[in-house]
């Protein structure tokens, strides 16, 4: 009774004979082999391994991006692949490719090939334009003319002058920006602003007839008074002519002085013209500088956001390490258990599972 109870508790596999157990294993192995064979057959079918092929040749000046794995495409369908690449005696690249026979009817005597535009970045495809159906099919072994896209070298050669010009402009701007000190620039701009404001006030007062100059220009009474004063002065001058004659040398000196002042004024005028030109230049430079400042601010903001995100990520790091450790432990257990399962158990020797050091003889 007790034996029967024990028997019912034992897993049924332990009650089966070894031969039967081996047959069960055999069934699983055969099933697995059949599944693998089926998958292999499906793979062979989908990869056209058994399809008949027709070979064509083409010659290129540059085999950019073409390899023995480059696909051949007609009307958007993969119809073949490059078979070999070699160099002719004329230093041309000879590309031999095949087209599956069932697509051969698309290749007519007027068909032309071209390399895809993406071949410059290494993703080459040979695209064959389907020919006219009324023309005969291109016989196997024929040579198809291939149009080649612009190479990277050619692209670069075209772009080089533009890049050089751009470089020169940037260097000039950099030189100007380097000379300008932002502090001086600001104070000059402030001064100029004050001057312009004063000038505007002055001209406004004159136009409104205020002040001495304004009244001189616009007040008739004052004009009359000034005329009277001038005629009075004429009388006075006549009466004072003898005395004035004595003042001639003094007047001469004054004239010289005025001439000198005049010269200085001309110089100041020239300086002012130069200053105006500089101010315009500064205004022109200030505009890109402002853009640069804005960009710098945006970059600084981005850096702040990035560092905040990074900080969050770093905070998660210990947790990630713990999870990784758990994953490794779990993987370790899985591998160890898998090693105990047939047929791995027969191939991989079990790890040394001895945990107890034996009695050490007194031999050292």
């Amino acid at each position: 009774m007790s034996d029967r109870q024990n028997n019912s508790r034992v897993h049924y596999i332990h009650r089966l004979s070894v031969a039967f157990q081996q047959r069960i294993v055999g069934v699983f192995v055969l099933a697995a082999v059949l599944v693998i064979a089926g998958l292999v057959l499906m793979q062979i079918q989908s990869s056209h391994l058994l399809d008949d092929r027709v070979v064509y040749d083409t010659y290129l000046a540059n085999a950019q991006g073409i390899s023995s794995e480059t696909r051949v495409n007609i009307s958007g369908i993969d119809v073949g692949q490059v078979e070999s690449i070699d160099i002719t005696d004329e230093n041309k690249v000879h590309v031999r490719f095949f087209v599956y026979q069932r697509f051969q009817r698309l290749v007519r005597t007027d068909s032309k090939a071209e390399l895809s535009k993406l071949s410059v970045i290494g993703n080459a495809v040979i695209i064959i334009r389907a020919g006219s159906h009324e023309l005969p099919m291109m016989p196997p072994g024929s040579t198809i003319f291939t149009e080649e896209p612009m190479t990277i070298d050619e692209l670069i050669a075209n772009l080089t002058p533009a890049v050089t010009n751009l470089n020169t402009i940037v260097e000039k701007i950099a030189a100007v920006v380097e000379v300008i000190e932002p502090g001086q620039l600001k104070s000059t701009a402030d001064d100029m602003s004050a001057i312009v404001s004063n000038m505007r006030q002055l001209s406004q007062q004159i136009s409104e007839g205020r002040g001495l100059v304004g009244r001189l220009a616009y007040d008739q009474q004052l004009e009359n008074q000034v005329s009277d004063v001038i005629s009075d002065i004429g009388g006075i001058v006549r009466s004072t002519a003898p005395a004035a004659r004595k003042l001639d040398p003094l007047v001469q000196d004054t004239q010289d002085l005025i001439g000198a002042i005049n010269e200085n004024m001309q110089k100041i005028e020239a300086l002012l013209v130069q200053a105006e030109a500089r101010v315009r230049e500064v205004a022109g430079v200030l505009q890109p500088a402002e853009t640069l400042m804005n960009k710098s601010n945006r970059i600084a903001d981005d850096v702040k956001v990035t560092s905040a995100v990074l900080s969050q990520e770093v905070r998660h790091l210990p947790d990630m390490i713990n999870k990784m450790q758990n994953l490794l432990d779990s993987t370790n257990r899985t591998i160890q258990n898998a090693q105990q399962v047939w047929p791995l158990s027969t191939v991989i020797p079990p790890a040394d599972s001895e945990t107890r050091l034996p009695n050490q003889p007194l031999d050292d």
Partner: protein, 311 residues
């Protein structure tokens, strides 16, 4: 559709046929892995790694209050401490372990502890006390000096007794070596170290009878080959040292010097500072006799350094 479903069905059937393997708790697995790592490191003479692994295992076993695990980890740790010459730590660990091991732990545990203490006493240069401890454990022998009824540890007991008797120069040392030789060492795997030890004891026996014995040297070379096959460094070093002593008895100073130097390299590698001091003393003596003052200075400096490190 059928092609997709067929492998899927087969996979489901395969999964359904398999039952999950019984899993031990993680703490237990981790402790066991540490023990295995430690045992492997010990076998490779990586004693620091072994001590770390056994300490981790002990912590883990203590965290789940696994009595047998605690015992095994402690024993391994004490063995490692003795091997690296940390005898104070070994003594402390052993006393603690004896304190917590009672009769319920079984005879096997008690015997293991006794043998551990014998090894510790031997390392402490107290062979007589070690022999006294072994005496109650001696099995019974028949007239042909074969074990009548021995336990699992009788080989270790007899081998240790023979070694200690010879070391102490007891009159019955030859008898114990004969008893040791009568044990069928081929019956159990993993007895190679005992076989090598027996050869060394027999070589010493021959050498004592006839200093510089050729047969003794042959036996030592045989033992050396066994240790080399096992890559057991401490055994190789001890045998080289024994061979050097034999050559020294024949007054072959150059050969003895060479053998001692080879032994010294291994002793330093295995952190066996006690044996290294012994070898260095011999090397200083030999080189003085050879008149090689440079080597005398070199070995004296090494000896001084080693003694300082030990202090």
């Amino acid at each position: 559709m059928c092609r997709i479903l067929l492998p899927l069905t087969l996979c489901i059937l395969l999964v359904a046929c398999a039952s999950p393997l019984p899993q031990k708790p993680k703490a237990f697995n981790d402790a066991e892995q540490n023990m295995q790592r430690g045992a492997t490191a010990y076998a490779n003479d990586e004693y620091h790694l072994a001590a770390n692994a056994f300490t981790n295992a002990l912590d883990l076993y203590q965290s789940i209050d696994d009595g047998s695990g605690i015992f095994e980890a402690s024993v391994n740790l004490i063995e490692t401490s003795i091997t690296v010459g940390n005898l104070a730590a070994a003594r402390q660990g052993l006393q603690r372990l004896i304190g917590v091991t009672d009769e319920r732990s079984g005879m096997d545990a008690a015997m293991r502890l006794k043998l551990l203490e014998v090894r510790l006493l031997h390392a402490e240069q107290r062979p007589q006390q070690a022999l006294d401890l072994l005496q109650p454990l001696w099995p019974a022998f028949d007239e042909g000096q074969r074990v009548i009824q021995g336990g699992a540890h009788s080989l270790a007991v007899i081998a240790a007794s023979a070694r200690l008797k010879q070391q102490l120069g007891h009159a019955d040392a030859d008898l114990w070596i004969r008893r040791f030789a009568n044990i069928d060492l081929d019956s159990t795997a993993g007895n190679e170290r005992y076989r090598a030890l027996l050869l060394r004891l027999q070589a010493q026996q021959l050498n004592d009878a006839s200093p510089g014995s050729i047969e003794g040297e042959r036996l030592l070379h045989e033992a050396l080959n066994i240790y080399r096959d096992l890559v057991y460094r401490r055994g190789i070093a001890a045998t080289l040292q024994q061979l050097a002593q034999l050559r020294l008895q024949r007054n072959e100073l150059r050969a003895a010097d060479n053998l001692y130097q080879r032994a010294l390299k291994i002793h330093l590698w295995t952190l066996n500072s006690g044996a290294a001091v012994e070898v260095l003393e011999a090397l200083v003596d030999i080189n003085r006799q050879l008149g090689d003052q440079a080597n005398v200075a070199l070995f004296s400096a090494q000896l001084e350094q080693l003694k300082q490190d030990k202090r």
